[in-house]
């Protein structure tokens, strides 16, 4: 049951994007480096373990999914997982620059990732997923 590779509930990544937007909005508001680090860790989990095993995916299955009906359709987990990797790259670089003392690196990186997450949460548009199809086959297989 846990390892059904066929498809995931598309509302899961949407929920994760909503949580991500809130976290990144607070990062932009406060410039909190530690909070950006938390989001970087979440992106890393989504990228390495897959969106279902990321903390937000877990929260969705535990808290949200039981209150909703079953999904009408399933979605390929690979594009949202790739989008997590894009998020990891953007926020990871911002975190490193922030740690190195570059002014406003945390806020700017947070803002860039916020736009992508917010677009996904609000209108269901996943920018990272769109890039996925442009990748060469061997990069996608990884």
């Amino acid at each position: 049951m846990a390892d059904r590779p066929a498809g995931i509930d598309p509302r899961g990544p949407r929920f994760a994007a909503a949580l991500t937007s809130v976290v990144l909005a607070v990062v932009v508001l406060t410039g909190a480096l530690w909070l950006l680090a938390v989001q970087v860790a979440v992106f890393a989990a989504g990228s390495l373990l897959g969106v279902r095993r990321s903390p937000y995916g877990w929260l969705y299955r535990r808290l949200v999914r039981p209150r909703l009906g079953p999904p009408s359709e399933l979605e390929d987990p690979a594009p949202p997982r790739f989008a997590q990797t894009v998020g990891l790259a953007v926020t990871g670089v911002a975190l490193l620059l922030g740690l190195a003392g570059v002014p406003y690196a945390v806020e700017v990186g947070g803002a860039l990732a916020f736009v992508a997450a917010f677009l996904n949460a609000s209108v269901g548009l996943c920018l990272g997923c769109r890039i996925y199809l442009l990748l060469p086959r061997r990069a996608r297989a990884a």
């Binding site: 066929a6 932009v28 508001l29 979605e75 390929d76 917010f118 209108v123 199809l133």
Partner: protein
């Protein structure tokens, strides 16, 4: 804090405008200029006598299924005249690349000779597709024109 709040408000507003713009492009049928062709060999099936609807899908993309229903319906309404081909974009990566398929579903409308005339990305617009199909000329007029030329 006030500047930061303002920055966040601007970010949200900017994202909404961007989202609305990208959404509006979604599914809109756009005319294709130039003479890019797809032949029957590339498709693995014969072209329609009037038009061929080439759909690029990915494995479990949700709007692809809706698009498949719409396009299959359009083809079924005019058998042999209109042919619907659903391709997995990953399995046909070269073809997808050559036609700049960046998202699934992408639909290419080919005329009787296999030239790409229209395209759309995202959820399909059945009415616009039907209009575009009605504009296409059947294959025999095209072959006549070619043989006279």
């Amino acid at each position: 804090m006030l500047t930061r709040s303002l920055a966040l408000v601007l970010l949200v507003a900017g994202s909404l405008v961007l989202g609305a713009g990208l959404r509006r492009r979604d599914g809109r049928l756009r005319a294709v200029r130039g003479l890019r062709r797809i032949d029957a060999d590339e498709l693995g099936t014969g072209l329609g006598r009037v038009a061929t609807l080439v759909q690029f899908s990915s494995e479990t993309c949700v709007p692809c299924r809706a698009a498949r229903r719409v396009l299959a319906g359009l083809a079924a309404a005019r058998p042999e005249d209109v042919v619907h081909v659903d391709l997995d974009a990953v399995a046909h990566l070269d073809l997808a690349r050559r036609h700049h398929v960046l998202a699934t579903p992408t639909v290419l409308l080919l005329d009787a000779a296999g030239t790409v005339r229209w395209r759309s990305s995202g959820a399909v617009d059945p009415a616009a597709l039907r209009r575009a199909l009605d504009e296409q000329t059947p294959v025999h007029t095209v072959t006549q024109a070619v043989s006279h030329g």
